[in-house]
Amino acid sequence: MQSQNLSVGMKTRNQLRVIFILVFTLSTLFGLGQKVEVKANYLQGFHYTSNWDLFKGGSELMINYRYPVKDFIVNTGVSFRTIQWGNQLSISTGITKSFFGDRTEFGAEIQNGIALFYEKPLYSLSLGVKASYLFIKKEKLTLGVSGEIRFTGCPRYKNYSLIYSVWEIPLGLFIRF
């Protein structure tokens, strides 16, 4: 009975996590008068756990909602990606600032996510710094490329695998509208 209650509790928590992510996605995409960014990343890995090695880190699709705060642009959104532990869904929050005119941006980002496993999703965390260049910048449409250095870890995956953290260079192409 105790294990049943524990199992029900875990399922409820997982359902709450999923609902939270979906509500967040909805609020992100239905935000009024805001800029939306859709980005595709290829992630080139260069370090895992305690080894230096070049490897294919995965692919990522991000949807961000961007809004100005003083001299900065704050972005929040969701990302879905493939990674060493399968697939991962994250909520991202970042801050960027334009430098050298209005076509070059630098920023930092944090992602809180879950490694997608049935019944037992595992928490994951990413931290990164990024640079972007906008090669088309119009009032209603912006296109650009980005490069980033990012750390991602999934601490509890350590119980199942020797690889539970990665350092990667996400190379992205994005559109803002």
Partner: protein, 249 residues
Amino acid sequence: MKPLFIFLLLILVGSCSYLPDEELILAADIKYEETTEYIKLSPKTNSTKIALIFIPGGLVDPHSYTGNLEKIARTGNTVFILKVSANLAILEISKSIKIKNQFTEYSSWYIAGHSLGGTAAQAVVHKYPSDFEGLIFNGVYPTERYDLKDWNRNVLSLYAEFDGLSTVEEIEANKQFLPSALTLTSLNEIDTLSVLGPTTLYYEIKGGNHSQFGNYGQQSKDGNATISKQEQQDIVVNAITKFISWNEN
């Protein structure tokens, strides 16, 4: 926006993997090596020149098979468990060949797979027919797309009585896509088996199911096993070991 949400929802639901139901324990007598491409299990002493590439089932974490496959490593053979993007091996067919070409110290290569991983193994053999000495299916029925009926090597097909995802009926209905069939009633028959040409050896695991080919709990839509996971996996290891030994001689 609505289709986008539906798409996101489908991605979310359809991309969850099965996590191993046991935590990773490294056996003292097995050399365990993990990279971003594979998990290598090899004996610390008395290693043979035989290697087996194992492809996990679709959306099953590759570590779900280490406990079972290290028993094969104990027989002297080296096992490579493939790691692939999104845990879907069918998207990375050429990775098996990349591993094979990387480890030239092994002279005889076999390829095996569970479930969708078996279909991926079939696709690999279809594309690179001369690279492997044998193909092993764990709960897999072959597809016409990668037809191997004219392949000139032997195949072992292990299937389970209560498999709800690769049913006994599906195994029977798709035999024409593998070399000529021979059904075993006991694994001991392999020891004295004499065949004239490429053959597929079929063996039904009584009381087994689909999920118990690995260690990841009960898979959705699967039947209920009447034998333990340990019993089923011991049969699988015994069958694979006997098949490789017979095929090599």
